[in-house]
Point group: D2
Amino acid sequence: MPLTPEQQAEIDAQRAAPRQTLRAVSEGMEAHLYRPREVLDHGFVRVIDYMGDDSAIVQAARVSYGAGTKHVSNDEGLIRYLMRHWHSTPFEMCEVKFHVKLPVFVARQWIRHRTANVNEYSARYSILDREFYIPAPDALAAQSTTNNQGRGAVLEGAEAERVLEMLKSDAGRAYDHYEAMLSQDGQQGLARELARMNLPANVYTQWYWKTDLHNLFHFLRLRADAHAQYEIRVYAEAICEMVRDWVPFAYAAFEDYRMGGATLSAKALDCVRRMLKGEEVTQETSGMSKGEWREFEGVIG
Amino acid sequence: MPLTPEQQAEIDAQRAAPRQTLRAVSEGMEAHLYRPREVLDHGFVRVIDYMGDDSAIVQAARVSYGAGTKHVSNDEGLIRYLMRHWHSTPFEMCEVKFHVKLPVFVARQWIRHRTANVNEYSARYSILDREFYIPAPDALAAQSTTNNQGRGAVLEGAEAERVLEMLKSDAGRAYDHYEAMLSQDGQQGLARELARMNLPANVYTQWYWKTDLHNLFHFLRLRADAHAQYEIRVYAEAICEMVRDWVPFAYAAFEDYRMGGATLSAKALDCVRRMLKGEEVTQETSGMSKGEWREFEGVIG
Amino acid sequence: MPLTPEQQAEIDAQRAAPRQTLRAVSEGMEAHLYRPREVLDHGFVRVIDYMGDDSAIVQAARVSYGAGTKHVSNDEGLIRYLMRHWHSTPFEMCEVKFHVKLPVFVARQWIRHRTANVNEYSARYSILDREFYIPAPDALAAQSTTNNQGRGAVLEGAEAERVLEMLKSDAGRAYDHYEAMLSQDGQQGLARELARMNLPANVYTQWYWKTDLHNLFHFLRLRADAHAQYEIRVYAEAICEMVRDWVPFAYAAFEDYRMGGATLSAKALDCVRRMLKGEEVTQETSGMSKGEWREFEGVIG
Amino acid sequence: MPLTPEQQAEIDAQRAAPRQTLRAVSEGMEAHLYRPREVLDHGFVRVIDYMGDDSAIVQAARVSYGAGTKHVSNDEGLIRYLMRHWHSTPFEMCEVKFHVKLPVFVARQWIRHRTANVNEYSARYSILDREFYIPAPDALAAQSTTNNQGRGAVLEGAEAERVLEMLKSDAGRAYDHYEAMLSQDGQQGLARELARMNLPANVYTQWYWKTDLHNLFHFLRLRADAHAQYEIRVYAEAICEMVRDWVPFAYAAFEDYRMGGATLSAKALDCVRRMLKGEEVTQETSGMSKGEWREFEGVIG
């Protein structure tokens, strides 16, 4: 349970005090506000604030395209049209801010998405808590034998036990020593900005992370994808659930055109056309490398 | 009057329908929502949406700096500390979206601020209105004799009349021809994406413009400055009035540390120290160029 | 001819003085350096500087992916892999800087690509030249009857003549008045920052524009596309020719996976799979709207 | 010594093969190319490529400001003017790419500068080396008693020994277990993307980092500052030495106006003016808080 009673009380207080606003309101997102959705063993993601809704996307697009958009009869159709044609600026008109608690090695992947605003808890100013990510048994996987950056079968038996024992004991010892180095009891006490270097990458940190809907979709497409590392994918999936309730038309278009779609190369399109005409196309006659062909076969089923 | 009755009715309708939200609310900003503030002869700026308030800045900073911020006894003091020490990320946690109507030559300056989201009315899709910026008499200024990019005395008499007549008649003729080229009455009608090239830079366009508070302050420091061109400065000043009501602590800190402050070079600081010790410092003994020394004298009065 | 003899002499001088460097050198790009490639009636684009080559992409990727990349046997294969899998950061390691002369209405589209560095000639400081884009006869097109933001058939006969006459005479008169307003002969002379507002959007401006290869590819995909406005597409196509010589492997991958490729939605992929199994799929049974279906038919031929 | 003989041989080979180019060349920077400058116990920074020199800044500015810039008699004067007046775009026309080896906790600070391109060695794909930052005795400091995010006196005697022993032994044990978990000797072997979570924040990583000169100066102002954490400051200082040789005029202006300068608030400027008129100003009569007044005294000496 990642929340203390004090934190829960604070959330309850925030949710108990609705106020009036003239801004666009998304009822679906109001239901999520402040509530942490638990992720991994000690993490969470919760939405702190949002700006705009499906209508805000349409409104911005109608300024862009003026009378030209009147053709499209309704909001949903216009949103699908914008997504299909990569008109990204209307989606940038929605903004969202999350509070996330996550292991440092996940944070290091996440931060590579640069078009966002971030305030991370500082281990120079403050002392980190004794909380470490220890994988659940079914997330403890072997190195993939086919994918250099992926994982394969779940570890079993004694090997799994050894790994968990190492992760737990090393984290515990590192934190004990972190505290021992910081202690000012009978000694000077090491600077916090130095002591933190002893903590492993599965220690939890937290941050406020704010981005616009277009960039959030880009993040989700990469991180909610089946090839993303499991430990960041579960955060992305939790966010997907919130976005679905926030901007249902935009999210549905995102699912159809991005998450469920695929980009075919010129060569791949040529193969599809030939195959639809009845030609038997093989890797050898496709012009693709073996790797490409395998991926192509995965796409066209 | 830049608004049509239909537009005014739409605004009234938007302001007549308050809804409940659990998000942070700024009463000062709610009072501005949707209402256009008139700028120049046909322009306006109005706030369409906002995210966060002074407390959101503090809240984000406390995640960043954790217990370390507990020292600062109150929100205002913390906000001033953050501004003074260029801790910009907490200010990025607030976001605002404006609808702006402005002449194209102002839009061209404005768009150079890249860290923002923009949806501009498209003259490829749609037909622009017959609205042009014609300077008021007291804004019709001569080229500065000392500043290559500034303006000097107000034009007077016959010269002013000639200029206004040229601006008005050229704009009118350009628009007449724009319409004539577009017309499909007895002819094919030129493509909108081509016809627009005949319109001068004082034609009005409009856009939705969204940015975070840190980048907005950067924009305001440059564009509400006395050296900015008058025609963009009036927009910046109108926005300042709204921001003051939105985030009063942050805006006051911005005024003290940015708008009213000045950056002194190493040489200038050295001069100040010498002068405070009683030394008579001149341009020759300052180590500064004439231009720098003149600016330095302007700063220290 | 957009270049004066002085400009040509300057280019010749720059190209006559090779120097030694230890940096990566692209012979293909060296051949283009400084030489303007003419675009439209008075415009040009020329490369001023570049950083990196195909090897720099590979080198950066090998730091990212370490031993994992040793699998891919050669540079070309690795570059294709990176492009196919949207690994954009290695492409960001190449940078290029152009000097472009272009009509203002083209510049206004171009500047919407925010991830670039720009220094534009300032009409506040300086006086613009009397140069306007006047479309060639085969670029003078009617509004498209099917596409709100496109152009259709070429204008003919008297209508074409009328349009060209209006564009030329309005530009000429606007520039005459621009000069008359600026003149300090017997009058004060209007400020340059004001006088410029009389100039139409087909006046030429110029800028230095610098971006990385990943963002350049994004620009080229949108602006060298058949749906882009002709007047920006010709600049994009000129740049394509240079990039092809600069980073041949990366450009070939870009052509295959981006320019010649297409993104299919989940629904479209489902249709392809059904069609490959022999099913007769129609718009009605596809789940797609009419617009989507038409675009889908265009893709699969 | 951070370089292996193979790496040194590679550097020697790169430096042994000068090639001809027509681009701008900075002799000062050529001397640095590829050569690692050692930082901390196992780290380094070396420049891999660069674009532009002092002249490129001037050239870009002259396009921006056209004839207006002819006033300033020389390149150095113009560069100082641009820096003084925060005209940042000409500085963005220079670009530089570094290869950096650095501890993860330093990388985590560094990456917060978002306007840069980064390719980091991936611990999902590859296995990290057994290299950890262990502070030298004079860098092993106690927590500051006055500054929540700073360090104070150097640790001494037994406490220092205890800290070093903990850092070394924990790093060693963590790496032993990292290897044990990865091993496929008689077991499946944990996925690399999971095993890395056991490594502490003082393990070394490496990346290619590319940015423009304006953003680099911003980075250096914050990270070469006396208040920056020592472990990142030494990297910033090493980069300063290279930039000084690359763009000497720009670097000198940066030192005078940014590194050695200070921003005074409206209140502080008012105090300076009063003091220069002979008034005795105290914290009580200054209008500043105690913290501000202390900082102000530090600035005016």
